[in-house]
């Protein structure tokens, strides 16, 4: 099985639903250690992405990369905050390695690695700083470890690792992003961006399962 542009579009739709459903939870996480806008920001962004993709019918030869690029530019211009440019860059970089109509499991690994690189290039965070990197990094690693397996298995490994990575941010003391202002008081709370990353990757799995 390979993944096509239709999968990418379903991913977006699933992600938008997941973010809408989790909006208040994400906001509450951000309220604890940030400024309480992460849920609203992402929800605004993904609603805009869905609207953008619905605007024009997909061309027959649409590539995965074209869909991801539309996601990237829309998130950049509608989300704002830290998450807007970070997710925007992640999808932009991902779009560059997926400029094909169909992508296989190695391309999924490349997609996740490119996204991670985009985020660290923009945000200068490494693992352990209690940011979305703590979800993307294990996700990319797990995907790489599963390379060669069916795409669905690769995506599932990545999503599971992201979920575990997000949970693992709870005890961390933040040293990047807004939560870092809290110093020691940031420990004991899950990072909202790591949690939303886990949601996005779970949506990618769900979209692939529908295929």
């Amino acid at each position: 099985m390979t993944l096509d542009a239709a999968w990418a579009r379903r991913w977006v739709a699933q992600a938008a639903n997941a973010v809408a459903a989790a909006k208040d939870d994400l906001t509450e996480l951000d309220r604890q250690i940030g400024d309480g806008d992460h849920g609203a920001n992402l929800d605004r962004g993904f609603r805009a992405v869905v609207a953008k993709l619905d605007e024009a019918p997909a061309p027959d030869d649409e590539t995965v990369g074209a869909v991801l690029k539309a996601v990237a530019t829309t998130l950049m211009s509608t989300v704002g905050g830290a998450a807007g440019p970070l997710y925007g860059t992640a999808f932009l970089r991902a779009s560059k390695v997926t400029g094909r109509e169909e992508i296989d499991s190695s391309a999924v690994v490349a997609l996740l690695e490119a996204a991670l690189e985009g985020i660290t290039a923009r945000g200068h965070a490494t693992t352990g700083e209690k940011t979305m990197v703590d979800a993307w990094h294990p996700a990319a690693e797990a995907a790489a470890a599963a390379d060669g397996q069916p795409v669905l298995a690769v995506l599932r490994a990545a999503a599971a690792a992201a979920d575990a990575g997000s949970t693992a941010t709870i005890p961390l003391v933040a040293t990047k992003g807004r939560a870092s202002y809290l110093g020691e008081r940031s420990a004991g709370h899950e990072d909202p961006g790591a949690r939303s990353t886990a949601l996005l990757l779970a949506a990618a799995v769900a979209a692939a399962e529908e295929q």
Partner: protein
Amino acid sequence: MKKLLDDPENAVDDSLTGFAAAHADVVEVHGLHGSGPVYVTRAGGAVEGKVGLVSGGGSGHEPLHAGFVGDGMLDAAVPGAVFTSPTPDQITPAIQAADAGRGVLAIVKNYTGDILNFETAVELAEAEDVEVATVVVNDDVAVEDSLYTAGRRGVAGTVMVEKIAGAAAVRGDDLAAVTAVAEKVIANVRSMGVALEACTVPHVGKPSFDLAEGEIEIGIGIHGEPGRHRVPMASATEITRLLVDPILADLDLAAGERVLLFVNGMGGTPQSELYVVYGRARTLLEERGVTVARSLVGNYVTSLEMQGASVTVLRLDDELEQLWDAPVRTAAMHW
């Protein structure tokens, strides 16, 4: 939550609509009501022969930044959603609108979101052949500055940077010189804030943090984030000391130096209390032999209706004093 708003989702737009109508002689608001990305410019556009100044950030800090657009201060301001950095597609046209051929200084408060969105926007503006310099305001001594953190936040000291760099631009300085003046202000300004009560973001609907009746937050930012530590409610004298001491420690002021003392209200604290804090802070400075040569007291960099205040101290020299005193004519600052 009780607020004078219609749909909370449109709060920023509705407020800017009123602002635009009330101050049509000073500002022009672009892109409202879905007609494109929102930004604010001075009425009449960029000033021929002058370096342009642009700032921006999340909304909810009014009058910052749109209230400081006008003669002697900013040429454009970019309001994001409440407490959320604006996006590059708002910032880039604002930078372009502020350019009259001598380049633009972007004044950015040090938050990851603001930095990242301005970075992208500046790249895009440069691609349109606008010369852009960026300064990052990081005056908040509540946050430790270190290579391994996001660094100090930009808070109320931003007003001093915008006013003084704005006057330097009016004086005719080129982009490098305006940038140098802004950097001088940034190097010499420090702030620290306290919250007595949190604020409520309209579309969230509940307070940004929960404070017990007898507790206050010391070292807050301006986005409703909790502060560095929580202490029991205390007298104005004690609280002011908790704000001024870290500023003095960081600024390392010597007896005989002159400063601007700025007591900023967070939005929900009455002026009378700000003047109590001002009086106490002034005494602490004077006890060190420091002369308070300029003063500002009022709500300039707010967090919606948060109750609390911040103290800002700017070390002055003759140049900064003159630029501070230079005429300014904006919606929120006028002399």
